[in-house]
């Protein structure tokens, strides 16, 4: 009952910007299908009365006061940037997308 096709994996890889060879796609389609199927199995067990859970621990409302804390100095912020200019991160041309 695998719902995951090779084309799905190719699309996910493209969305995640991961280059994959045909061999990668073949191998990963099979592996990921096993995982998806396993999760589907678990989902079968949950009845209507079990709400979707995004956290295993029932906690909520962990907030922070609106108080300013120190930020990085500009040099520190840019220290690991491959390239920087004018106090900013320098990135390659942005093509074919919105401004």
């Amino acid at each position: 009952m695998s719902s995951l096709e090779r084309s799905d994996v190719a699309r996910l890889a493209a969305l995640a910007r991961i280059d994959m060879t045909d061999a990668d796609l073949d191998r990963l389609s099979g592996q990921l299908a096993v995982i998806v199927d396993a999760v589907a199995k678990v989902a079968e067990v949950a009845g209507e009365d079990v709400p979707a859970t995004s956290h295993p621990i029932p906690m909520a409302n962990i907030h922070r006061e609106d108080v300013v804390r120190p930020s990085f100095a500009q040099d520190d912020a840019l220290a690991a940037a491959p390239e920087a200019e004018d106090g900013r991160f320098r990135v390659p041309q942005i093509l074919g997308e919105e401004a």
């Binding site: 962990i62 108080v67 804390r69 106090g87 900013r88």
Partner: protein
């Protein structure tokens, strides 16, 4: 292909629109970290591991931002979800440090509201609100090379100071049945949101600085034929025009898109469902990404944040802080204050409404409050190129100043000097009057001495007055005012002159 006008398009088709408004909150810190949320700092000086998306950094929700979002939701008549959560919206763009934006997806905090929008002629239109959810802003790209735009740029530079700034996104349900008033309603809706966020004090609401931004969705469908309900006619394909950032531009974007789509449809060509860019200079749109290929954000619950579960008591407490609907408040105050439509419009346009209301609340008459804020203070604000509210003077101080005038302690001219002192940070109006020695000379003996001196200096004037030419007293009044540096009560001075001349006024 024939190019249609907006009016022609509205005759041929039934328009449907929807608007997404992003409101930047004016919290002191960002949505998920303690970096300052302040416009205009040096690039990349308000950043930390959380908002730069460094590995292992953990976001924590800003309580004040949650409060602001709930208050905005309540002001929009929304229900507040008992348990809402954050979700990751995944996409790649250089201004997005983490390669995902923390937003809300299937469980937004505020949902199902409605907002009354008052048009210029007083017509009230109710716009249904789908949801209002919390999310974070992205950084700012600057394109280098080429013409400075994204097209033809050699590379781009990114400043993440704005990355992680709290936003509330308000989404309408589709608005139908507005016909040729569609553009007007769209504009008035955004104006109302802007007024509300300002009244709530949760955002500065400055569209020109991007603190309120709108995306405008528009589609056209055929008009219903006889015997058919317009509601049964399916919606057409829509375009989403991004970042329309002024009220005038909202109206123009609706005009342009309606005309463009109508021209396509009448020529038998399809409208493509896509995002479009707004160009302020030409009042037109151009295509961006098409929806089908780009819109796969693979949302999933944000594992690093816990659900937001505001207690009902807190929500009710916040409900008590929601100000009156701005349009209704304007109508009420105009009536109470006895201002004309034109006066009220000027007051609203100058952002002086709340200031005047606060001045009245502090004890001044509406007329006096309007005189100060729309006169002297507007002039000063204009000279200094700041908003009225940014002037270093409070409504309470203006009421106090007017009180000093009403008590006869100072006259209008001295009041302006006192205000100058207040604006220069010299203290309260009473303090400035005392320290600068501005009080009106009401001591008759001092005035009599000044009058005698002036009369002695101009004996011919005394003769004229005694001759019955009472208006000649003006010259003496002027001389006394000069001698007392404007601190005399001109009416009293005139009385003394006439007494001295033995003439009854």
């Amino acid at each position: 292909m024939t190019t249609m006008t907006y009016e022609q398009a509205m005759e041929e088709f039934d328009p449907v629109f929807g608007i997404e408004v992003h409101v930047e909150l004016n919290t002191k810190t960002k949505m998920f970290c303690g970096c300052a949320n302040e416009f205009g700092a040096e690039p990349n000086t308000q950043v930390c591991p959380v908002c730069l998306g460094l590995p292992g950094a953990m976001p924590v929700t800003n309580q004040k931002a949650v409060e602001s979002a709930i208050r905005l939701g309540l002001a929009l008549g929304c229900s507040i979800r008992e348990s809402s959560r954050f979700a990751r919206k995944n996409y790649f763009y250089p201004d997005l440090s983490k390669d995902y934006q923390i937003s809300q997806y299937d469980e937004p905090t505020c949902y199902e509201g409605s907002l009354d929008v008052v048009l210029d002629d007083g017509t009230v239109v109710t716009v249904a609100i789908e949801r209002a959810h919390m999310e974070e802003d992205a950084g700012k790209n600057t394109h280098v090379g080429g013409s400075g735009g994204i097209q033809g740029a050699d590379y781009s530079l990114v400043d993440y100071n704005r990355g992680g700034v709290p936003l509330v996104e308000i989404v309408t349900k589709p608005v139908t049945g507005m016909g040729d008033r569609t553009a007007e309603v769209a504009r008035a809706y955004v104006a109302t949101i802007r007024d509300i966020v300002r009244a709530l004090g949760i955002s500065d609401g400055r569209m020109e600085q991007g603190s309120v931004r709108a995306d405008v969705n528009l589609s056209l469908r055929p008009k219903a034929v006889a015997g058919e309900s317009q509601d049964d006619v399916p919606f057409g394909k829509r375009s989403e025009t991004k970042n329309v950032n002024s009220l005038r531009a909202i109206e123009r974007a609706v005009h342009f898109e309606a005309a463009r789509q109508a021209s396509l449809l009448l020529a038998g060509q399809p409208v493509v469902q896509e995002t479009r860019h707004w160009h302020e200079d030409t009042s037109s749109t151009t295509p961006g990404r098409s929806k089908e290929e780009a819109e796969d954000y693979r949302y999933f619950p944000e594992p690093d944040l816990l659900p937001v579960q505001p207690s009902r008591e807190w929500v009710e407490e916040l409900r008590g802080t929601i100000p009156e609907h701005p349009a209704k408040m304007r109508a009420r105050l105009r009536e109470e204050w006895g201002f004309s439509d034109l006066e009220m419009r000027d007051v609203v346009a100058a952002d002086a409404l709340v200031l005047i209301a606060d001045t009245v609340a502090a004890g001044a008459t509406p007329q006096a409050a309007r005189k100060w804020w729309m006169g002297e203070l507007s002039r000063v604000a204009n000279d200094r190129e700041v908003a009225l509210a940014e002037l270093p003077v409070t409504p309470g101080a203006i009421a106090e100043l007017q009180g000093l005038v009403d008590e006869g302690k100072i006259n209008d001219k001295l009041a302006r000097q006192a205000l100058e002192g207040v604006l220069a940070g010299e203290g309260s109006p009473a303090e400035v009057v005392a320290s600068r020695g501005l009080e009106v000379v009401s001591d008759d003996s001092a005035l009599e001495k000044a009058v005698d001196e002036a009369l002695a200096a101009q004996p011919d004037v005394l003769a004229k007055i005694q001759d019955g030419k009472v208006q000649a007293a003006g010259a003496i009044v002027g001389a006394v005012m000069k001698a007392t540096r404007g601190q005399a009560d001109a009416g009293r001075v005139r009385e003394i002159i006439l007494q001295r001349a033995g003439v009854e006024g």
